[in-house]
Structure formats: structure tokens, C-alpha cells
Assembly symmetry: C2
Homo-oligomer: 232 residues x 2
């Protein structure tokens, strides 16, 4: 795999018009965002109209992977047409300013633009294991290998991380406003993140079955992130 440059090129499409200071071109920060999320939204153009679908994704080196059914045609349109935009957003908090206009959200966002490349059969199983490992770390070691039928039913696409727009808002609300704001009013940020809840065993899982390492690890990651304490 080739190593991409540490800075992301800015193209006409990824240049942030408004709030240009929020645009980040740091590849390491981009990868940290992508590695912290499992849900993306893909936008494609079909007959001149926008289409958008939510889907899982995973970073694999200097590209991202998405997958679908061989029978599902939506992603194929992107591969033969005008490409797709893949948006990944982490919502980090609500920003309470002393007026509604300056109130906002803290977030980290990346949009990857590109033509999806079909992952060749020889690399398909490895790519699917990368996807699986990102979504459910360690699970691949707990279940049987993929079958030939399953591999044949799945199509995997790779989108190189060449054209990426990234935006971030962090920190406190803007307090520069001086247009009648009441400074006795509380202003600040209410952070948010994702919480994993108690695993629920399926009907055919015998009662004595231990929750496996992969699931315990998933939940433990959450406990690490839970630095804050809930307000009662």
C-alpha cells in the first residue's frame, strides 16, 4: 500500500466556503475520526437526482471500505457514474450560547468523495475481515470463517482517501456577542457520546453461555470514554 501525504489536498469540492478555519487537512486527525465511527451516509447521483443511504464503513489504510449485496445495484451506480460522497459525522455536544443564533453543535465531520473501486475477489475476504474487525473487534475469531457462498453474495468497494472535506467544531460557545445577551444566563456545552447498553442474548443462545470477549471489549471501550458523569 502506498503512503499518502500527511496533508489532504484541497480541491474545489472540498474547499470549505464558510467557516474556512473549521476545515482540517490533517490526515492523522481524519483517520482518528474515521476509526471512531461505524456509520456513514453515502450520497450518489441517479438519473440526475440525489440518493442517500446509511451504511457501515471501515477505514483500511489510506482508503475506506463499504460493502453490500451483489444484488443491490445502488453502489454499482456510483462505481460507474459520478462517484459518491461518503459522510461520517461524530456529534460531540450541544453548544448553548446566550442567544439562539450562536448556539450550535460540536462535531467532527468528514466527507470523502471518489469513485468506488470494486475490491477484486482475491482481496475480498481480507477486506471483509477488516470491515468486521472495525465494527465488531475480535468477533472474527469467535465464529466460523466466511463461506464461498457468502463471499460470492457480497460486493466490497474501496474509496481512496484522496479528496476529503473535514470540518470540526469544538469548545465553548462564542461569547463575543454583545447584543443584549444576559450574562447571568448559563452558557456552555452539553457533551454527548455513544453508550453501549447491556448485551441481549438471542433466543437460541443457551442461558449459561458467557458473553464473549468481543462483546465485552466493545462495552469496555465505552466505559473508557465515559469520563463524564450523568446529571440526575
Amino acid at each position: 500500500m502506498t503512503t499518502a501525504s500527511a496533508s489532504l489536498p484541497i480541491t474545489a469540492r472540498t474547499r470549505v466556503g464558510r467557516l474556512a478555519a473549521q476545515q482540517i487537512v490533517d490526515r492523522a486527525a481524519l483517520y482518528a475520526l474515521l476509526d471512531s465511527q461505524i456509520l456513514a451516509h453515502a450520497a450518489i447521483v441517479l438519473d440526475g437526482n440525489p440518493l442517500i443511504i446509511p451504511l457501515a464503513f471501515a477505514r483500511d489504510g489510506d482508503s475506506v471500505l463499504i460493502h453490500g449485496s451483489t444484488g443491490g445495484g445502488l453502489l454499482r451506480h456510483a462505481a460507474t457514474g459520478s462517484g459518491l460522497g461518503l459522510s461520517v459525522t461524530a456529534l460531540d455536544g450541544l453548544v448553548y450560547a446566550r442567544n439562539l443564533f450562536d448556539s450550535s453543535m460540536n462535531y467532527r465531520s468528514a466527507v470523502v468523495y471518489g469513485i468506488p473501486l470494486v475490491v477484486p475477489d482475491a482481496d475480498k475476504e481480507r477486506a471483509l475481515l477488516v470491515l468486521s474487525e472495525r465494527l465488531m473487534p475480535g468477533r472474527g475469531d469467535e465464529v466460523r470463517p466466511m463461506t464461498r457462498r457468502e463471499l460470492a453474495a457480497t460486493i466490497v468497494f474501496r474509496i481512496p482517501l484522496d479528496e476529503v472535506s473535514r470540518k470540526v467544531r469544538t469548545g465553548a460557545p462564542s461569547e463575543s456577542a454583545d447584543d443584549g445577551e444576559d450574562h447571568a444566563v448559563w452558557a456552555g456545552v452539553v457533551p454527548m457520546n455513544i453508550r453501549w447498553l447491556t448485551p441481549e442474548a438471542s433466543p437460541l443462545t443457551a442461558k449459561a453461555t458467557a458473553v464473549p470477549a468481543s462483546v465485552r471489549r466493545q462495552c469496555a471501550v465505552d466505559a473508557e470514554h465515559a469520563s463524564g458523569v450523568l446529571v440526575a
Copy 2:
């Protein structure tokens, strides 16, 4: 406001090709999803290419509202062109099957397609208060009213909920597979939701300032949803 029919019409764009059983046309369920989320992704077509941006939204009766800067041109393109697709997704859990192929995510997803209509000046303040009330319930009563300058700097769009694609996956993993799965392996669902963390006051908020009702309410909603217990 006119009352839309209780069932959503199925159009060529909103017909779900694969997994048609996951398509839901129940308007009440759609509205419940939209009202539970604050982040959307909007896809538009610009010069034949897909563009996608994350943004806040709110349902207002039988339409959704989005807003932006008067200076930001992206949403205007949608209003004069081929419209937009607005996707809202709630990620509810990871589904651990006894093979990777049947492993999945539980989610509720809606995509609204339409031409955004510019909300006229006479209705703009009300529309912005609807947006604010959805994102930060009660905050509008704690801060000063919007100024004329702020209203002039903001553009609000309404997208009628006429063409909507909705998909849902809930419940346990499929256990019908019989292709070498080890039934001694745990299978099930790890639910997830959003957690609000301790509010962080801004630098100019005096130490003795009480966390306001709007912020306490935001966090209390979370405590209600937290039916599960974290795995240590």
C-alpha cells in the same frame, strides 16, 4: 397546516429494492424517529456530482426544517435544482450473529426527498423557534429574542414529508443459518444509544450560575432512556 395521509406513498425512488419487508410506510413511526434525532445528512447534486453535508434539522408538522447562512450557497442549489435527499438514522445496536455474514446493525432510517422551499420572512422566526425547541427544548425562554440582523442572516428551508423512504432493523440476529455455525457461541444484540455527559460551563459563566432548566431537561431525557446497565 394540512394533514397528510397516515401512510407514506411509495415512489420509484423510495421503493426499497432489497429487504422490502424492512420498508415502513407508517407516518406516526416516521415522525417518532424524526423527533428523536437532531442530526441529518443532506445530499444534493451540484454540476452532476453528489455533495453531502451534515446538518441539524427539526420536524414541523408534516415537513422538516433545515437552516443555514444566507451566504452559504449549498442549500440554495438544492432549492433551484434537483432537490435533496435528507437522511436521518438512529443506530440502535450491533447484531452479533454466529457468522459474520448475518451480523448486522439495528437501526431506524428515513430518507426524505424533495425540493426545499424557502420559508418566507413572515414565518421565519417561528420556524427557527421550532428548530431551536427541537434541538434545545426550553432554551428559547432563557435567552433574549432573535434580532433582526440574526433573522436576516439566516435562511430556513422546509421540505414536505411527501416522499420518504424508511427502513428499520430490530431484534435478534437471524438464527436460521445452518452452515457450520457453532451454536455454543453467544449471539445477540449490543444495544447503543446517545448519552449526555456533565454540562461544561463556558469561561464567562459565573461559578455560582445554576445549570438552567433546558440543560437539566436535556440530560433528564437521557436518564429516562438509560434502561440498560453498562457492562464493566
